[in-house]
Amino acid sequence: MLSTKFTKLSKEEVDRKWWEIGDFFRRNSLWMLMYCTGCCAIELPPAMTSAYDMERLGMGPMATPRQADVLLVTGYLSLKTLRRLIYTYEQMSEPKYVVGIGSCTINGGIYHDSHAVINQLNRYVPVDVYVAGCMPNTEAVMNGFVDLMGLIKTKKANGWKDYHARNEWYMANQKAALGEVKVHDEFHE
């Protein structure tokens, strides 16, 4: 005789289970945003195309931030780009992940003393994975993506939650570096 014993799961547990299922899909289908913010983007075409074929991992480029899951910050970020990057990041649908590629995103790299380039990306947007190197070669970039998948699996890729939780801190940092984030750039008019 079978004894059927249903333990009623609490709402949190149900949510967690759904979240885990969602994580499985999310990490196997990471769509990255086509945004070449800096020079490390030059190693992305080999990663995307036949030589390394990123699509094996289920990754592919996407046209707009609404569709994408991963924001790749490829290298140094000038202030002008950072404004647009933050705007783009806020347009992405959650859950969203950020991969910082190149040393410039970590500590400014070779441009650490430049008047136009920020030094530390994770003060302005939360970063889940860094890929070091100037420039990191394609294998390193691919490895970074695999790392991101691992972090999603172990529920450590929580940058977007952090952005909600410490939103004021991020906003204050953005304001300190940029002044206003959204500016009138109608510079030709």
């Binding site: 999310r26 196997n28 769509w31 074929d53 289920g58 996407m62 046209a63 569709q67 959650e94 859950p95």
Partner: protein, 301 residues
């Protein structure tokens, strides 16, 4: 009636699963053309379910309503689709014009929702999609007119059964010019290059899809898969003699879809007015001459 409707829902679901799997396999096939491995065959499923699991944004009620109307219209259309001559939800009511026009509800819903997002790129994409529709639909309808005139019925199963008779050839062979026009129009219908103008990421950043993310995009993906299912299986039924059993149907379906994909992978995309000029040059002439030859002269192979 209820069983019929449930069966219809089953057909729509079958179509979704079939097309999504075949699309995944085709991504691998195209990957081989491009000298690479390509994704897993079930990647399309992963993509769709991932999208459904995300938290999206909405631009107002019309943005959501349009998506629901789009998916609903397409599911409704798919419910009429016969798989084989026996496996059909609403026998005798699978009229060809229902497919052509009920699909338009889905298209209209999507167009409405895209324009409702307030993004001009989406409106441009919709404009291009509608213009492409104006291009490919007329030659296709002329060919189908010939077929309906020859068979005397506009029921899709009726046309398929007519071709399965021993004395008749498939219309792909019987009406060779019309068959070619059918292939071209089908490529336009399912949005394959060179007629993929309305997505055109490098020009208008994926056109109507530009503002979608998360569940809305996921639902549009489902809608797209079912639309492709409807259009390709319509081609199978109209031109390739339908199918006696499910396996044959899947084989024919796979062959048609894969052929189109391979053809499209070595072509670029036209501009929108080039698409219109293309279809209103040779295909429509071929379709009209085919219709004249078949209807007035009775020359059918």
């Amino acid at each position: 009636m209820i069983t019929n409707i449930l069966f219809g829902v089953g057909v729509a679901f079958f179509g979704f699963v079939l097309q999504t799997s075949i699309a995944g396999v085709n991504r691998k096939v195209v990957g081989r053309v491009q000298k690479r491995y390509g994704p897993k065959w079930y990647q399309e499923f992963l993509d769709i379910f991932k999208l459904l699991s995300k938290r999206s944004v909405t631009h107002g009620w019309i943005f959501d309503f349009g998506v629901i109307m789009a998916l609903g219209g397409i599911i409704g259309t798919a419910m009429f689709m016969p798989i084989t001559s026996d496996l059909v939800a609403f026998a005798d009511f699978d009229n060809f014009f229902i497919f052509v026009y009920l699909i338009a509800v889905g298209m209209l819903g999507m167009a409405m929702s895209a324009s409702g997002s307030g993004n001009p790129l989406a409106s441009i994409g919709v404009m291009r999609a509608l213009t492409t529709m104006l291009a490919y639909e007329v030659p296709f309808m002329i060919v189908v007119l010939t077929i309906i005139k020859l068979t005397g019925t506009s029921s899709v199963t009726g046309i398929a059964e007519f071709q399965q008779l021993a004395s008749n050839n498939w219309f792909m062979i019987a009406l060779p010019l019309g068959g070619i026009v059918g292939v071209m129009s089908l490529m336009g219908m399912i949005g394959k290059k060179p007629f993929e103008t309305y997505i055109a990421p490098a020009e208008i950043a994926s056109g109507p899809m530009v503002e979608y993310g998360g569940k809305q995009l996921g639902m549009l993906f489902i809608m797209h898969e079912i639309t492709v299912f409807i259009e390709v299986s319509l081609f199978v039924h109209l031109f390739l003699g339908g199918a006696e059993n499910v396996v044959l149907f899947i084989v024919k379906y796979f062959l048609v879809y894969t052929t189109l994909n391979i053809i499209s992978s070595v072509y670029g995309r036209f501009k929108i007015d080039q698409v219109v000029l293309f279809f209103y040059k040779w295909p429509i002439l071929m379709a009209i001459s085919q219709a004249f030859v078949a209807i007035y002269l009775g020359w059918v192979i």
